[in-house]
Assembly symmetry: D3
Homo-oligomer: 137 residues x 6
């Protein structure tokens, strides 16, 4: 079993805000991360696929194909967007790093047919990052 990783970047705005709570409660829970005028990040996304090596190509998955899948399904939908307002598959979710890695996993899982999706890692800043390996792990 080999683990193959592709790294992509995107820039987006968000705020941490739970619409079930009052503004005061949001401010108390999330502090400056809840600024109503938004803030943003350069996110670094790593997608890890595992599988056996195809003897014809030496590949688990063609990384040009993995790059295309990530760009079409994730980067084009998140880059230079507002994660609270602009993204269909994040509707109704607080755009924390934790919720993002699960949502990105769910977007990509069915699209990867060579190899199997193993992990989603997301760096929100150089000091904070998040990883999800699917429900069974």
């Amino acid at each position: 079993m080999i683990y193959v990783t592709r790294r992509e970047v995107f820039s987006a705005a968000h705020r941490l805000y739970n619409p079930r709570l009052s503004d005061e409660e949001n401010e108390k829970l999330f502090g400056k991360c809840s600024n109503p005028n938004w803030h943003g990040h350069n996110y670094v996304l790593e997608v890890v696929v595992k599988g056996e090596i195809d003897s014809l190509t030496g590949y688990v998955i063609d990384l040009k194909e993995l790059k295309r899948i990530i760009r079409e399904n994730i980067i084009e939908k998140l880059d230079h967007k507002n994660l609270n307002l602009d993204v269909d598959f994040l509707k109704g979710k607080i755009p924390s790093g934790e919720n993002l890695v699960v949502a990105i996993w769910n977007q990509l899982e069915g699209k990867i047919t060579n190899g199997k999706l193993h992990a989603i890692k997301l760096f929100e800043t150089e000091n904070n990052y998040f990883e999800y390996r699917g429900e069974e792990n």
Copy 2:
């Protein structure tokens, strides 16, 4: 002459938008960078001070002091903020990297009294960065 650099980071939202132009013109000029719902970045700021070494301390400027000056005057005003809406010293400016480095220079120039401000560098992403060294350069 020694050049001393302090690096700080902040996360902010912005959009590129010129209020003197129509929405169509802004969209044409700035593309996805003009998304009305904002996007954002993890900015990396480098402040370069030049000066002679003080023989008592071995310092040009105490970097703890430079850090305090940058945090009070720049980071506290920009971190987790909207650069179009929330920042007094950016009012009326398109928050491009170019305008940001000049505005940050103008904020800091009078505050640095040990040594002399030499350059402001600002990384908007890992691929794009900006530098300003004052009017004479």
Copy 3:
């Protein structure tokens, strides 16, 4: 299950030295790492916590809280310190990267109450790093 990581840095002095051995044996075992006048590093510490997402916040653990726990229990005790002389929880231990990750794990394990400590990673240099995931792993 989500894995959340917080990165912090600290600078410290140490030497590799086993007090049960002679100076010659220490020199032979550890070479220049045993310099009696000390040497030092900028350590990069990553603390990984795993847990389920709290639907109220979208968090496994509030990273501001995790940052506070790491700073109070680890960074304040190790930053700008001598790891052989100054640190209560390292007393009697050779301050190798291996012993450091175990000692940091033991310091943090009981302090993390949202989620569960999953791993401690410590970069001693850009080329050498260490990881510990607790006794069972």
Copy 4:
């Protein structure tokens, strides 16, 4: 159980090419990665060894020893070489990242006697990397 990692770098040329296929088929499968005049990379290699801490040294494995093993068995054979033409242990293999991590594992596995080889990670570019943890994983 502690995981100890040593990072080394090497520069090499390669092309993706399957000698069982025609030039047209290679071009179709591998695109620009199949350029007959070669291209190349700065590879970053990470070797992860796991084991218990030796109480005499505080080490799982002496990193100077691990560095020597990697340099003698891998770096001297791959650095400034052509991975399709110059390397005995890659003969007959398409030098994809996937095949490289397996081949490097096989070269190193028997050489590590303090601790046990746990993983080989190989960064081909800043965006693409590969990991292998042996057959049983």
Copy 5:
């Protein structure tokens, strides 16, 4: 005057070889860098443009335009290529980092019409890089 930098990456093969010298002399001058079977690098290119800020856009130069100019004139001609064999504007040149920065400068200088080309920086490895600022500097 503002300095704007765009970073791009490419992977290429080369060897250091002076066709006016014998193979023995090349081997003596260049050592392993002269391997006749080639080796290669992931090059990191930084292009620095200086100019005044356009008040309509807040830009010195639109970085999407600078990216397009670099990709069309440099990256498409160098990425996954052999620098000794495949590149028209390097014909007859030893592809050292020094010669590369001058050749890339000459390719780009006439193409940049907003602002003025200020510097070309090229990282051959993480430890070696080269800079050229034009003949007058």
Copy 6:
């Protein structure tokens, strides 16, 4: 004129301490950086040499030669050493980043005979760095 840069790393211990002052004054001036038990850093050193390209080699200076000069004159004397106690050319100097870049310049200036020493850059941490370009600049 081309600028060629070689990067090297070393690990060392130091404390900021002026022997002409009392312990209380040192503590007040330097804070935790004055810890009498030392602390330390992984320093990153960049040495910049400028010159014309030699048409025989395509080099300003052979980077293997520059690496050898830096290792013999700087790295062997600073790596795994105490900058206050162990280094002849730092005797009597407070080992601040500022004093270090000047001292390293003075060590290297006469040793570089192909090209001319242009700058010394020293990163003390990822957030603090220092540069010196000789007396005339």
